[in-house]
């Protein structure tokens, strides 16, 4: 277990380092000089040079890369070219919307998908199964931002149960915050729930065919008892992987959903930064998203080993 953990941590660090090099290199080849962009075309050359020095743009590529990575490790993401405020502060503000949104969507996705998947597996081949599987096919095919527009049309514009968009902040109260994030979270959760329900169903069907399930029934457990005590626990392993993967997809997918609901999250920050060519913000937010994907996958790998003793023995 010790060497396994060490190997995984090492590969985590290498992945993060490589990802940061890739992101830095891509942004590096962007045409144009940020200092000139900030000051406008009529700026004096010595003013531009002074700003370049202030932003550290006059240093070599390697020195700037190391400064960027070193800064991020100590929580300093640099200063936004357009807003002149620390990027870390901007990102932290936006994460107050994006993280709860992703978490809310993940909870909804699990709450919808697991019962649906279990129901379908238990009724395999019968009309209930066919209906659930048909619904998941549709759920996978629906673009989440379109579904979001339909939710706004029905529940915000027609029924007036929710606001069509915007977010007043958590200061307005937990309930108000959750209320504002409900429609976005549903829109974000739907396609993920459809995928998760299919995974849950097929994982459970795999487990139902195992010998230990027959043994459990032979011991005198009812079908339901055997399913609850032995089936679900084993079927949850592949489901756990997908849930882990989905969190990062929900965080990235939130970028589009935030546009539909005018939510002040990472998505809006990144699109404003793109149109203002505020590359340091783009660089930092992209690194943060990739960091989230890599770390969540790492955590899922570890959870895997913790949940399944067979994997522990092998590793």
């Amino acid at each position: 277990m010790g060497t396994y953990l060490l190997r995984r941590v090492l590969s985590l660090v290498v992945s993060l380092a490589l990802a940061s090099v890739v992101i830095f290199a891509v942004v590096e080849i962007a045409p144009g000089d940020p200092a000139r962009f900030m000051l406008g075309v009529n700026a004096q050359p010595d003013t531009v040079a002074a700003l370049r020095a202030e932003l550290g743009l006059d240093q070599g590529k390697v020195a700037r890369y190391l400064a960027w990575v070193g800064g991020m490790l100590s929580g300093d993401f640099g200063t936004s070219y357009t807003y002149r405020t620390p990027v870390a502060q901007m990102v932290a503000d936006r994460l107050q919307v994006s993280l709860p949104l992703a978490g809310y969507a993940l909870v909804l996705s699990v709450l919808i998908a697991l019962p649906a998947g279990i129901y379908a597996a238990a009724r395999r081949g019968r009309p209930g199964d066919v209906a659930v599987m048909g619904a998941t096919q549709l759920g996978i095919a629906i673009p989440n931002f379109w579904f979001a527009m339909m939710l706004v049309l029905i529940f915000a514009i027609r029924l007036r149960w929710f606001n069509a968009g915007g977010f007043a902040g958590w200061d307005a109260g937990l309930w108000a915050g959750l209320h504002a994030l409900t429609l976005p979270a549903i829109a974000l959760a739907l396609p993920q729930a459809a995928i998760l329900a299919r995974v849950m169903r097929s994982a459970l069907l795999d487990v139902l065919g195992e010998d230990f399930m027959r043994t459990a029934r032979a011991k005198g457990l009812t079908r339901g008892q055997a399913l609850r005590r032995h089936g679900l626990r084993n079927a949850l392993i592949p489901v756990l992987t997908i849930i882990g993967l989905q969190f990062s997809f929900l965080l990235a997918g939130g970028i589009i959903i935030e546009q539909v609901f005018y939510l002040p999250g990472l998505g809006r920050l990144i699109f404003q930064a793109i149109s203002a060519r505020d590359l340091i913000v783009v660089e930092s937010v992209v690194m943060l998203l990739v960091f989230a994907v890599i770390v969540v996958n790492f955590a899922v790998d570890l959870a895997y080993v913790a949940v399944d003793p067979r994997l522990r023995a092998r590793s």
Binding site: I140, W146, V293
Partner: protein, 271 residues
Amino acid sequence: MTRTLILGGLLSGLVLAMALLSLIWTPYDPAAMAIPDKLQPPDAAHWLGTDHFGRDMASMIMVGARTSIAVALVAVGIGMGLGVPLGLAAAARKGSWLDEVIMRGNDLIFAFPSLVIAILITAVFGPGAINAIIAIGIFNIPVFARVTRGGALPLWERDFILAARVAGKSRTRISAEHILPNVANLLIVQGTIQFSLGILAEAGLSYVGLGAQPPTPSWGRMLADAQTMVSLAPHLALVPGCAIILTVLGLNLMGDGLRDALDPRLRQVRR
């Protein structure tokens, strides 16, 4: 032939036919504005209604299908063209440094969701359909590399490969002549799935303004335009939305059907 395959094939074929037909004929010029006719609901003159500029929605959907299909198709091509050789090479040299480098490279790309790749590319080079293709294509590379490697590895243990090696064929030649034809089914199925994901990704990127730029009609852009007017004229959002859903649904059903049809073992244990 399963019912799934037939239904999926019909839906996909319909969208493809619509896109091809738009090359020679559309009911109206999709770019022609007619402000007096704006926001018309579907009727006999405009089958799918008109948008806020009075443009014919049916014509725009037909031409938009072309954009979607072109972007998704080329993105699958990039993913297959680079991913399949990488997967074959990794499987042929299983456990070697080459295998390790290819698979770790795959893991690295997997950490960048296609939207994030698109954001990076757009931030640097500006938005456009080409950049959307590149972003979705890059995301497809590790998918095809993994599927190819996964399908090829068990083949390398088989007797007919051993026979080819005894006959003195190189690993590269065996990969091309014996491994590739045997993983082709897997690739066709995965290609269909990635194609449908590409359609969805293209729509999402165009919706947020990172994909096809005006005047190129695209389903995602039509939805972005519809957003502020959806309460006045719901068909503005319903029409492109249904076009996307039916296309993706058709491709997914076709993928499922192909998988069942091409793999007799799966058919026996089908659930």
